[in-house]
């Protein structure tokens, strides 16, 4: 029986409504980006209007979009690769060779996410200044890696835990080394899980605003700084801000669209499923 045939009409309707609700702000932002400034704030809202590209022209003339976008790409993917390099061995060790402190270590890692970022702004800013990492991609990559590492370790730990330990034991009995067991057996089996973890990490890094606004100025500023530059204290700015937001989320939306199959597969992943 196909999956479509199994879905309940009520559940399907709720899923559609939830999806539309979540998509609506994006739709509204894109719509506003093609309006004039007066049209964007009109009450009642304009649904039928003559679209204009003037907002896109204006923001492209005022800011170097490609530079911001390139920084976003480098920082998001760089921090993801670095986080995976650290988190895969850590999660492997904790999943297959746990000690009595593994549980508390995992909880401690997660607890670091509960601290409000602004609480550590000054020490981190001073540290970055002293080691010359202010306004550098390297500084932001390190910051994002550290920020997302607890989530990455937790997700990978969960995926590894779902793997029957017998698979590892069988490999070792057959004479495979630890390295071979990890690279030739384990990683291919958990690849969907790693991929979905990586995707989530990329999205979290792409959307992060607090640290990117505070630790960068010009050279390493990503797209979140690009958006922030079009919010104004005086004057009408909704249409231009919407255009900037659309340009900032477009790459990650396209990326997410193409990788959604991998994401869903990873989130429903299990070695014996």
């Amino acid at each position: 029986m196909s999956l479509r045939a199994k879905s309940h009409p009520v559940a399907g309707t709720i899923a559609w409504l939830a999806s539309l609700l979540m998509f609506f702000p994006i739709f509204w932002t894109v719509l506003a980006s093609f309006k004039t400034e007066l049209g964007a704030i009109a009450t009642p809202p304009e649904l039928i209007f003559t679209p204009t590209l003037e907002n896109y022209t204006e923001i492209l003339s005022r800011a170097d979009y490609l530079s911001f976008a390139m920084n976003s790409v480098v920082v998001s993917f760089g921090s993801t690769v670095l986080a995976l390099l650290i988190a895969v061995p850590a999660a492997y060790a904790m999943a297959f060779y746990p000690t009595k402190r593994t549980r508390s270590t995992l909880l401690w890692m997660l607890s670091t996410k509960m601290l409000p970022s602004v609480g550590v702004l000054v020490p981190i800013y001073l540290f970055a200044r002293n080691v010359g990492l202010l306004d550098t991609r390297t500084g932001l990559i390190l910051m994002y890696m550290l920020m997302n590492l607890p989530i990455v370790v937790w997700m990978l730990f969960t995926f590894f835990k779902e793997m029957p330990k017998a698979i590892i034991e069988a490999c070792l009995i057959d004479g495979a080394s630890q390295w071979q067991t990890i690279t030739m057996i384990l990683l291919p089996l958990v690849l969907p899980g790693i991929a979905s973890t990586a995707l989530l990490n990329v999205i979290l890094s792409w959307n992060e605003a607090f640290w990117s606004l505070n630790l960068t100025a010009h050279d390493a500023a990503p797209l979140t700084a690009f958006i922030a530059s079009f919010s104004a204290p005086q004057g009408l700015f909704w249409a231009k801000l919407s255009a900037a937001s659309t340009m900032a989320i477009a790459p990650i939306l396209v990326f997410g669209w193409f990788s959604q199959r991998q994401l869903v597969r990873g989130l429903t992943f299990g070695a014996v499923k």
Partner: protein
């Protein structure tokens, strides 16, 4: 002008540029119309000097947090900071800013004395102003005429309330008055402070005792809450400058008391539906006129951590000069000249002709005296703020209580009792008493 003046200015810059080798300066600034124009014109300075500019443009509150973090930790990320008249004297006193000295050709005496004083500490100028503003009253001449009303040159708060009652027609989504309601020291408190000043109130007495839970504050806040409930637009607690600008320019407000910088935006034919129906007059007053129109200047300063101080000062001298203001007029039209900074702007016939609000703005900026903000003597300067480092947090907390009272979540009495306790504790902890 004055092509010869412009050429002379460019030559002056070229000479100063040869003294220092080409540099790249980073400017942290706010996204408003005047700064966008400056960004667009800055290639002329770059071409004349060989220097390059990296612009970091941020929303006002983000900018404030960003530059405060950088300067207080000596991060050295920026060569020029855009700051206001609140921060400049405080940071200047702390030794965080480079004192500015301009050549005679800059004509520093052409800058309004009040603006110079607001950007100075210990007799030294620490920032160059690119626009200054006070507050005033904008009103719809067509609605006043239709109702047979006449706006006085110096209206009182009671007169404004009477006009608002008569001009409100909620069935047509026409509201008698629009005022700031969004919480924040630079949002609702900017207006509320001038209102309290007008009702004879103040933040502190001469011994730094908080004087918030007093009759003038109660009278002022009851007036504000009652007036906006009767004649204000819906959702007023979410309205700041931009929201009220949108309401006014789309014809929903009969009156609006806010920054004089609104004049150019309301008068912009491309984005305003009421540009030809709007009149301008002084900010309303109550038992006193002291501190009833606020004073604010956006200015640019060079932090002591800048590694390119000469280039940064050269840019400040160019971008706040008379020649630059003329260049703005020639490029973008005279209506949008940076207002409130230079005396010569208001003797420029092109500006007087293009901007009918110019004289009212000039009078408002000249009247606003940050050293005499209240009816009774106070130990602080600042009209819509108290120029001490603790005020940002204090003002925002009181602003939240005022906003809660406006939303009906607490009474005015309860809001002021809480505000009094909180402000007293803060000022005592900070050691002012």
């Amino acid at each position: 002008m004055r092509l010869s003046h412009l050429l002379a200015g460019a030559a002056m810059l070229a000479v100063s540029a040869t003294a220092a080798s080409a540099a790249t300066i980073t400017i942290a600034t706010v996204n408003n119309g005047d700064m966008i124009k400056m960004q667009k014109l800055s290639p002329k300075w770059e071409a004349a000097t060989g220097n390059k500019i990296n612009w970091v443009v941020l929303e006002e509150n983000v900018l404030r947090q960003r530059v405060t973090t950088d300067i207080s930790t000596k991060g050295g990320q920026f060569d020029i900071l855009t700051i206001g008249s609140y921060e400049t004297p405080i940071w200047g006193k702390l030794g965080w800013l480079v004192p500015l000295e301009f050549p005679a050709s800059y004509d520093v005496n052409d800058v309004f004395p009040g603006v110079r004083d607001a950007l100075s500490a210990g007799g030294k100028l620490y920032a160059a102003p690119f626009y200054a503003e006070s507050s005033f009253t904008l009103y719809r001449k067509d609605l006043f005429d239709a109702a047979g009303l006449k706006m006085p040159a110096t209206p009182t708060y009671q007169e404004l309330a009477g006009f608002a009652d008569k001009l409100t027609d909620k069935s047509k989504e026409q509201y008698g008055i629009c005022l700031r309601g969004k919480a924040g020291w630079g949002e609702n408190m900017a207006f509320v402070d001038t209102l309290v000043n007008g009702f004879g109130g103040q933040w502190f007495d001469m011994k730094w005792n908080a004087t918030i839970d007093t009759k003038p504050w109660h009278d002022a806040l009851n007036y504000y809450v009652d007036l906006l409930h009767r004649d204000g637009p819906p959702g007023v607690t979410g309205n700041g400058f931009n929201e009220n600008l949108a309401l006014f320019t789309t014809g929903h407000c009969a009156m609006w008391v806010d920054a004089t910088s609104a004049a150019g935006l309301v008068y912009d034919k491309s984005s305003s539906q009421v540009w030809d129906k709007t009149g301008f007059t002084a900010a309303p007053h109550g038992v006193t006129s002291n501190g009833t129109g606020w004073f604010w200047a956006w200015a640019m300063a060079v932090p002591t951590t800048s590694k390119n101080q000469d280039a940064a000062k050269s840019f400040l001298a160019w971008s706040t000069s008379k020649e630059y203001i003329e260049l703005v007029g020639q490029t973008f039209g005279y209506t949008v000249l940076p207002p409130g900074t230079r005396i010569s702007t208001y003797s420029n016939p092109n500006y007087i002709k293009a901007a009918p609000f110019a004289e009212t703005v000039k009078a408002s900026v000249l009247t606003a005296d940050i050293t005499k903000p209240t009816m009774n003597p106070v130990p602080y300067v600042g009209i819509q703020y108290v120029a001490i480092p603790e005020f940002q947090a204090m003002g925002t907390e009181v602003g939240q209580l005022v906003s809660a009272a406006l939303a009906g979540q607490i009474t005015v009495d309860a809001a002021l009792t809480k505000a009094q306790a909180s402000v007293s504790a803060t000022i005592e902890q900070a050691g002012y008493k």
